[in-house]
């Protein structure tokens, strides 16, 4: 039995064994354990934030929210937002709020547009603590709201993540 084990250890694994993966993952989890435990925001907190702005009755169209289905790393997730609007002096997008339901705090950023922008489109990079919904809420110059939601899966890496 011991001899057999020794033999096995000398073999070069053609595939990384389940044992190796479990051990590697264990090491990764130990690292993750060094991070503080934080309470995460939830849908209720996000809904409350949206309601406070007055966007709870928002129209569920008119926004393109560009996010990867699967984020390679939650530390840096590319997000693009574009709101349909002529961006004229009397009809434009005033503000776009971005929320992340599963983060410690749902606020991500608030973008203030003016008609001088010509188009209500922006790209940035955000942190997502886990797989969750990202929400864009747009406040138009006439006081109406538009809203869009996209789910992003945040992967837990092997060694890279």
């Amino acid at each position: 039995m011991i001899e057999e084990t020794k033999m096995k250890l000398k073999e070069t694994p053609k595939e990384i064994s389940r044992r190796h993966v479990i051990m590697l993952v264990g090491a990764a989890a130990a690292t993750a354990g060094m991070l503080p435990r934080v309470s995460l925001a939830d849908k209720a907190a996000t809904d409350a934030a949206i309601k406070a702005i007055g966007g709870d009755g928002a129209e569920m169209s008119g926004i393109t929210l560009d996010l990867p289905q699967i984020a390679e790393n939650g530390s840096t997730v590319s997000v693009g937002v574009e709101v349909d609007s002529p961006m004229t002096a009397d009809n434009y997008v005033k503000t776009v709020y971005i929320f992340a339901e599963g983060n410690p705090n749902p606020d991500v950023c608030t973008l203030h547009f003016t008609p001088a922008g010509g188009i209500a489109r922006a790209y940035t990079r955000i942190r997502l603590a886990k797989t969750q919904n990202v929400i864009a809420l747009a406040e138009m110059s006439d006081g109406s709201f538009k809203r869009e939601t996209v789910e992003v899966k945040v992967t837990i890496g092997g060694c890279g993540g």
């Binding site: 503080p36 961006m87 705090n105 991500v108 950023c109 203030h112 922008g117 489109r121």
Partner: protein
């Protein structure tokens, strides 16, 4: 943390009425306030919380940032080119520091 100058891209020239894309990048750890150091002490929050863009002195775009913005913040946005002038960028840190950049645009 502002040892590196911000990087901003504004086209050198544009046709009147053209919508141009502007890209901005600045070096900052965007310390979220959620992390702890090796001794288990909370690392205090220190982020850039505000980004303002002006053209010929008039603000036309701004953003409020929460700790959920990634380190070394990137933001791209747009402007309709109407006249030649100077675009001004200001990033405001939690500690009150201001980082600035400027670019000229020629409208033809």
């Amino acid at each position: 943390m502002a040892s590196a100058k911000p990087r901003v891209k504004v086209p050198a020239s544009a046709a009147k009425g053209e919508i141009i894309e502007i890209k901005s990048l600045i070096s900052h750890t965007m310390e979220s306030g959620q992390r702890k150091d090796k001794e288990g002490k909370a690392i205090p929050r220190k982020i850039i919380n505000k980004f303002i863009v002006t053209f010929n002195g008039k603000e036309f775009f701004s953003a409020d940032w929460a700790p959920a913005i990634s380190a070394n913040p990137f933001l791209s946005f747009h402007m309709r080119a109407e006249e030649s002038g100077t675009m001004g960028f200001t990033w405001i840190d939690d500690d009150g520091s201001k980082y600035t950049a400027e670019k000229n645009l020629k409208v033809t």
